[in-house]
């Protein structure tokens, strides 16, 4: 712990801890979706706090698309070891066999097969009845209307027109066998809250969030880091070394870097306050069509 929390961060923290405990109390087999990013880091930190001195009574699940930055995978394994928590890694092997990749199949198919279908496979395989996700309502318009406890049918589908009313901090956790609930403890946090909390609580994050000299190519206005040899270069492309960092982390061929000199958490916060673009702008998968996130979520995307 480094600095005392502001009133508003304390209230957000307490609300999230309440949500985490409520799930542990009322579900038989919960899991925490761990995507290695800053939001997951905060969510995991809150889980460590919620159940202290016990460990969180649920495992972490990472749906690995096999195209994450290598630094993310290293950070994931180190984090699980450092905190002594169970980590399940699931890969959609069927997708791998079919050769699905962001390069060969495009972002839509890759995301659908390796993320959405991979997630469904893992949830079915282990029979999880509740899954925590680090999504925030300020990220995207359709998320703004999603409940903290978001009901999913047996087919993992979300029906935005038929959501349960959610009042006070009284969460309806009742489900039938096969149905499940996605739970978003960070619903009321903003990107700024997340960074200020990481700063105040001294929470480790993947180094890719900090500026460094990295090999990138510019494609359709986005700076793509060539993390390994699998990303083919166009004839006219040569990776150039630029000082960049990432605001969000995903599959490396689908995640745009920004030019930045921010090497500390303080720098990141200052840079964000001056920024004129939203964090999801770096995500190439959201902008395919209007309402694209709502559509993906109805199909079971987190």
């Amino acid at each position: 712990m480094s600095t005392p929390l502001s009133t508003h961060l304390k209230r957000l923290e307490a609300e999230s801890i309440h949500i985490l405990r409520e799930v542990a109390s009322e579900f038989k087999n919960p899991v925490m979706l761990y995507s290695i990013g800053k939001d997951s880091s905060v969510m995991l930190h809150l889980a460590m706090k919620a159940f202290y001195p016990a460990k969180p009574p649920f495992p972490l699940l990472h749906v690995d698309t096999t195209w994450k930055f290598r630094e993310m995978i290293r950070f994931r394994d180190e984090t699980a070891k450092r905190l002594g928590v169970d980590l399940i890694v699931h890969v959609n092997e069927d997708g791998v066999r079919r050769g699905v990749s962001p390069v060969a199949s495009g972002s839509n198919v890759h995301t659908q097969v390796m993320k959405t279908e991979g997630l469904r496979q893992a949830l079915d395989k282990y029979g999880f009845d509740a899954a925590f996700g680090g999504a925030r309502r300020d990220e995207e318009k359709s998320r703004a209307k999603e409940r903290v406890f978001s009901f999913r049918s047996e087919n993992h589908a979300w029906d935005p027109r038929n959501q349960r009313p959610e009042l006070w901090s009284l969460y309806n956790t009742r489900i039938r066998p096969g149905e499940s609930i996605r739970v978003f403890p960070l619903s009321n946090w903003t990107e700024l809250d997340v960074w200020q909390y990481i700063l105040a609580e001294d929470i480790p994050v993947v180094p890719l969030y900090f500026a460094d000299v990295r090999p990138v190519v510019e494609r359709d206005g986005a700076l793509i880091m060539r993390d390994d040899e699998r990303l083919p270069l166009n004839p006219d492309e040569t990776p150039e070394l630029r000082r960049v960092r990432f605001r969000t982390l995903g599959c490396y061929p689908l995640t745009g870097a920004i030019e930045s000199d921010a090497t500390s958490l303080e720098d990141i916060i200052a840079e964000m306050l001056a920024s004129t673009t939203s964090e999801r702008q770096g995500r190439l998968i959201d902008s395919d069509e209007a309402g694209s996130m709502e559509k993906k979520k109805r199909e079971g995307y987190f």
Binding site: S6, A14, K145, W168, L170
Partner: protein
Amino acid sequence: MSQLFATAPSTAALADAVSRKTLLRFITCGSVDDGKSTLIGRLLYDTKLIFDDQLAAIEKDSKKYGTTGPGIDLALLVDGLEAEREQGITIDVAYRYFATDKRTFIVADTPGHEQYTRNMATGASTADLAVILIDARKGVLTQTRRHSFICSLLGIRHVVVAVNKIDLVGYSHVVFAEIEQAYREFAARLNFASITTIPMSALTGANVTAPSTDLPWYRGPTLLQHLEGVEVEADRRAQPMRFPVQWVNRPNLDFRGFAGTLASGQVRPGDEVTVAASGRSTRIARIVTMDGDLDLAEAGDSVTLTLEDEVDIARGDVLAPAASRPEVANQFAANIIWMEQEPLIPGRSYLLKLATRTTPATVTALKYKIDVNTLDQLAAKTLKLNEIAEVNVETSSALAFDPYAENRETGAFILIDRETNGTAAAGMVLHGLRRATNIHRHASTVDRAARSALKRQKPAVLWFTGLSASGKSTVANLVEQKLAVRGQHTMLLDGDNVRFGLNKDLGFTDADRVENVRRVGEVAKLFVESGTLVLCCFISPFEAERRMVRDLVGEGEFVEIFVDTPLETCIARDPKGLYRRALAGEIPNFTGVSSPYEAPKNAELVLRTADAPIDALADRVIDALIARGLIEN
């Protein structure tokens, strides 16, 4: 006007500002036409919370869906779901976030139409303040009264009346003053601590975040200034301590902690606390957190407490000071808002969740419903979606609560439909009911075990359910004969027969059918207490009521027997000529014809009368009773 985070401040200034920052949760009420979404879009836009890529997206959308002519339609920023954008309405509650250097804000943006009352109540439940929009051209309307009433009902104490579109009435002071007076006259009937009236134009931005030169007669704050400065923290810390236990933390044999969120008050190590339901007292030993033990925890903090003594405590218990405990009762009066398509039926069993406790509950009396537009009290037998009523609630076990007006955390509850698992109602406790505390069960010396031992049998309810003419009474009659031959003590309650006496005041509406089954269930329970095997033949079309009777008696004492005969066969049999008359429209609410039958999903026994002779079916019932150990072979 406050300094916004338009440019990056120095790190030191940032850290300082951040540590003092407070949080305000508010709700905006009004319909599309009042400019509600435009107002929120304006707040986000003026506080620089709209990013370039989002702006580009809505510029594109403005051409497709926009309703404000050329230029950007700020409302599109907040209308998230595709259907809303297409229809130009706001269906669901959306939460929005923005910050200045003084406060961070969470805005619940809720729909204004009457059919979305439940969504508005949802947004209001977590809000400390309401911004109620009034179109300056229209003044105080029915919907203004409705929005204000719901906010007051949900315990919001501070209101801003935003008189919007003031530009369209020529920035008239007279119009503004008339609206303000009309609103204050009406709101005197409600429970608000403060009302602030502000003239503004969300479209032009006047008085939203910046004052306007077009309103020289107005000297008050802009909306944002008011939101930044208003004091809303009803001092939850000064109220008596309430700690609903959420999770028992037992990592090893040496540690036993009780985790939860402090609903009100403060707690320190050494404080004496009482478990509200059992009355057992002990002292707080430690307040445990990952950052080290605390000397003090306050309302809103999520902590883990350890106690000095080994006291039996589980999730759902409430810790409180011995001197000011919550009420503990199984009956209370409450206001409820109905939230499901399926109407409320008094007597039906629901699950009630209050703080961390979940227990079966029924609405025992519907005192009156409230017309949300006029606040008139109306007589009612059921409650439909979005209707509000005062009711009496009975829970199957006693629970600890406070009146909602005194404590939002320990006075609020939801009702959950046991069939669909949907959230059926939101409730606010008014007060405990005296009769619950003054009636105590009398324990008799000759108990049910003694009575059933005398009869050499275990008592049970054999519940025959099925369509009219399915053969329930025929099978049950034969089963009773066979039991009598075996020397068993039995009683048969028949649907038609009880309607000549016990239930002769009841008809066949859904509400009366529920009451019919409830009374029969209570009578069957009395026979079970006497050690008798009770055979009940009732159509009992609803799963919820069959479950209610099941819950009345003990585990293993309810045997549900579904007499499964196809409707066509029943119609063909028609021994009393009822189907003929029902199909001709002469009998309303006839099960299978004009009223639904919910077939049991988990009956202990299913008898298909089409497949086997009656005698064989009766023998199957006897075999089932032997298999369950209710009678001897």
